[in-house]
């Protein structure tokens, strides 16, 4: 009994490794993925080392240099408070990168666990959970987030991260559930049950590794949405601390000045948001193609 079941497992492990190697090869030849990975690595480096490169503190005001055009002294110009736009864009990188990664990770853990359980147990648990998740997705993400931030009285990045994570959980749960439903019928799950493995072991050690591809793809797709949602929320002034160098907040504070032709405090954060969002999208597109989920 024991030997045969472990034989089943080793075989699937070897298969898994071969598939992984093949996919890695495909990814290395996928242009969209490579471009995306390159831009994202750039932003990750900025997020980590940005504060060292920044020529000025992001909140330092110089009233002698208000709304200066981009120049050798101020690469991206200065805003109406005389703050260096370049340093603020660098400081904002760290915020959006951290917030969107944490929010997506939270959503993936919560949603993934719910999806695993719903797909495995089925029955009433599944039906009720899916109805609740469907109801949540009948409210636009942005509006649930606004509502929750208002209700929690939260002008803090932490609350935004939590809210976005929970709002994303339903979609991730649905993806994982669909993958688990087809997995749970397979022999290795039945074998694990016969070995009288404990349910958490079956869920996390047996099924989870096999449904990882759709979870990874879903993670990158949601990461893109998280950047989208967090940027928009900070543009709306919800869930950010006052004076924060969030890219969205920078645009909301400065965009009215584009009518006086002061475009730089708006355009540079806008380009930053666009390039970060597009890079994540290129990565998820590449993964989607390779994993064929």
């Amino acid at each position: 009994m024991n030997t045969s079941s472990s034989a089943v497992r080793t075989k699937s492990n070897a298969e898994r490794k071969a598939i992984r190697a093949e996919r890695f090869q495909l990814l290395r030849r996928n242009k969209a993925f490579l471009v995306g990975a390159f831009i994202l690595s750039f932003w990750l480096l900025i997020a980590v080392f940005g504060s060292m490169i920044a020529p000025y503190p992001y909140d330092a005001m110089d009233f002698m240099a208000v709304s200066k055009k981009p120049s050798g002294t101020y690469w991206f110009g200065t805003n109406k408070l005389g703050q260096d736009v370049f340093s603020r864009v660098l400081a904002g990188t760290q915020l959006i990168v951290w917030m969107s990664f944490l929010a997506t990770a939270l959503g993936t853990i919560v949603g993934g666990t719910l999806g695993l359980a719903a797909g495995y147990f089925k029955g009433w648990f599944d039906i009720i959970l899916m109805r609740i998740l469907e109801a949540i997705s009948a409210i636009p993400v942005l509006i649930v987030a606004l509502l929750a931030i208002a209700a929690l009285d939260g002008q803090s990045s932490g609350i935004t991260v939590g809210v976005i994570g929970f709002v994303f959980a339903p979609n991730i749960a649905r993806t994982v559930r669909a993958a688990v439903l087809s997995e749970a019928e397979l022999e290795y799950v039945a074998a694990a049950r016969l070995r009288a493995e404990r349910t958490p072991h079956i869920l996390f050690k047996e099924i989870l590794p096999n449904v990882l591809p759709p979870i990874i793809v879903e993670f990158t797709v949601r990461l893109g949405y998280a950047i989208f949602a967090i940027a928009t929320l900070s543009f709306l002034g919800a869930g950010v601390e006052a004076g924060s160098p969030n890219w969205g907040s920078q645009i909301s504070e400065n965009w009215a000045y584009i009518f006086s032709n002061i475009w730089w405090p708006t355009l540079f954060p806008a380009i930053a948001i666009a390039s970060l969002a597009v890079s994540v999208n290129l990565i998820s597109d590449g993964l989607l193609e390779v994993f064929e989920v």
Partner: protein
């Protein structure tokens, strides 16, 4: 068929009830009471009691929930705490304005995205296809407000060809005179939604192009173009209907951001102000109305899908 529609209708009612439960209890999640948060720290005990009595906040939570639901069902959207007048007086005109913008956007988005998907499918693998699919989906991940601000910068400020407010400043604000003003806001929404709809249309057109009936049509002597128009579209548009309905929540979410940039007195602006002013009645009713619109759209799409798709139709009537 009747049974299917009733079943879907029932599910929609359940969904709305769950939405209501979430919306109500979410705004009461904090132990601190609404009156204190609303009136501020300086309010006296007496003020709080008066406030609570006025808005029915002194009753048990479940009674409040029941009363709120009952009021909603009879069309009473509650009282705005900030303006001290019925929330419906604020919400209904705003929703009217928003639907103009949404309608205009829909009229632009749906045909363009479907056309984009068909073109991409017919030139599959060519440069046009890459441009439409990769470009479309890249545009889709950039937030509406970034597009809106960029569009204003390019077309409103630099080229000065289009108005930068969504509302005519002078004269009669009829829908027709407003159209010019709605072009930029609708374009911002188009850029975000085009990619998703075009991608699904492309995929289903490709599937249809490779199908047996298409081969038959071509062998029969129909030109490729003619075969696409007469045979492919009918089948390929079905999935597009489903994806368009699934994009409605995103359209509504996008409206909020776009309205604020273009200073449009729609429902997004009201909602933002309600969040800022902690105007719970407006907020709750606003979210309920939004969800109702979305659920109705999804219901309509499901039914339309079933009516148009003979395979589902026969399965339902069995």
């Amino acid at each position: 068929m009747k049974k299917y529609i009733l079943n879907r209708l029932g599910l929609s009612v359940v969904t709305m009830f769950i939405v209501a439960t979430i919306v109500f209890f979410l705004t009461r999640i904090l132990p601190g009471n609404v009156a204190r948060r609303y009136l501020g720290r300086s309010a006296t005990e007496e003020d709080l009691v008066k406030f609570n009595a006025k808005f029915g906040l002194d009753e048990p939570l479940l009674t409040q929930f029941y009363r709120w639901l009952r009021d909603l069902l009879t069309g009473d959207l509650g009282t705005s705490m900030a303006f001290n007048k019925p929330a419906s007086e604020l919400l209904l005109p705003a929703i009217g304005y928003s639907s103009r913008l949404a309608l205009m956007s829909f009229l632009i988005i749906v045909p363009l995205s479907i056309a984009g998907g068909i073109v991409a499918a017919m030139y599959r693998g060519k440069l046009v296809d890459r441009f439409l699919t990769v470009g479309g989906l890249s545009a889709a991940v950039i937030p509406e407000f970034v597009w809106a601000v960029t569009l204003i910068l390019v077309f409103g400020v630099t080229l000065e060809v289009l108005p930068v407010t969504a509302f005519p400043t002078r004269g009669d604000p009829s829908f027709l005179s407003q159209i010019e003003h709605l072009i930029l806001p609708s374009t911002a929404l188009l850029l975000v939604l085009f990619g998703y709809i075009a991608r699904i249309t492309r995929a289903s057109v490709i599937e249809a192009l490779e199908s047996d009936y298409m081969r038959t049509a071509v062998l029969k002597g129909l030109s490729r173009r003619r075969a696409v128009v007469t045979h492919v579209l009918r089948n390929a548009l079905l999935p597009s209907i489903a994806v368009i309905a699934s994009q409605v929540p995103y359209l509504v979410g996008g409206l909020v951001a776009v309205e604020i940039v273009f200073n449009y007195p729609g429902f997004g602006t009201i909602l933002r102000d309600a969040v800022g002013g902690r105007d719970y009645a407006v907020l709750q009713s606003g979210v309920m109305l939004t969800s109702l619109v979305i659920v109705l759209f999804q219901l309509a799409a499901d039914i339309l899908f079933a009516v148009l798709n003979p395979r589902i139709r026969s399965r339902i009537s069995e």
